[in-house]
Amino acid sequence: MITRISRNRDRAFSTRNAVLFLLAALSMAWTGACLADDYPDGCVSCHVGDTPKPKSAYRLDLQLADLGHGKGGERTKEIPTGCFRCHASTGDGAAGKLGPYIHLIHFRGEKNPFLKKYGGDCSSCHQMDPNTWRAVAKSGPRNWEMTVGDTKIPD
């Protein structure tokens, strides 16, 4: 009798443990999903589409052309690092600093697709540099080919 009770208890215990384990695994998977970097190169890891529809991020050369931006953006090799040659971080470049322009684009308006579809995460564009403990904008090579007239210019 006593042994049976304790065996039952054991079984109850192990099912509970299994549930606990599952939950623990689930919550770890969640944390993992959050911590894994979906956009290791920042802008160019997310701006990958060829068309503006459905409302999502499409290639930056196209997106900038839509805004009526000059060709300087398209000619840039490292995004956004190369953009700083005009948009200096100090604010005293030829064009305004990039941070405020980019923040407004991605954070203004409740229906902003960056907030709605992409979670509005600073870490999609920034990372903490563990040597200097300063946050920097992630960067990566452009994901389009340059064209002059109708001719593609290889890198």
Binding site: A33, C34, R134
Partner: protein, 129 residues
């Protein structure tokens, strides 16, 4: 057992919320002082208490946190700047850092973007001591 069960549920749920990031209501609207509160369990987690324990001079006269920390701590002062200090405290050794593990390590716990100017800055709040 039941307690552990609840704790794990809470962990899973909060995991969900952290993933949603900015889309959910802001848990820490005033930054530092919304999180460094008088009671986390049995611990007094307020900044005046924590700082006293690491031998920091008194911070009783400050009014707005972290703005007034800037009376002595410059934001751009090389390796010892406030930026470097506060970032390192909250992000170093991520696998055991409580800010990363328990609070999801979100920039937006401390920072916010001003949707008029586009500048990113710090949240502030009156001292809670």
């Amino acid at each position: 057992m039941k307690d552990r069960f609840r704790v794990l549920w809470a962990a899973a749920l909060s995991g969900l919320f952290f993933c949603a990031g900015i889309a959910v209501a802001d848990e820490f609207p005033e930054g530092c002082v919304s999180c460094h509160v008088q009671k986390i369990g049995d611990v007094d987690f307020r900044l005046n208490t924590l700082l006293a324990q690491i031998g920091h001079r008194k911070v009783d006269r400050l009014k707005v946190i972290p703005r007034d920390c800037g009376r002595c701590h410059a934001s751009d002062d090389g390796e010892d700047s406030f930026t470097v200090m506060i970032h390192q405290i909250h992000f170093d050794v991520p696998n055991i850092n409580l800010f990363v593990q328990r609070y999801g390590g979100a920039c937006t716990h401390c920072h916010e973007v001003n949707t008029e100017s586009g500048e990113a800055g710090l949240k502030n709040g009156p001292k809670n001591w």
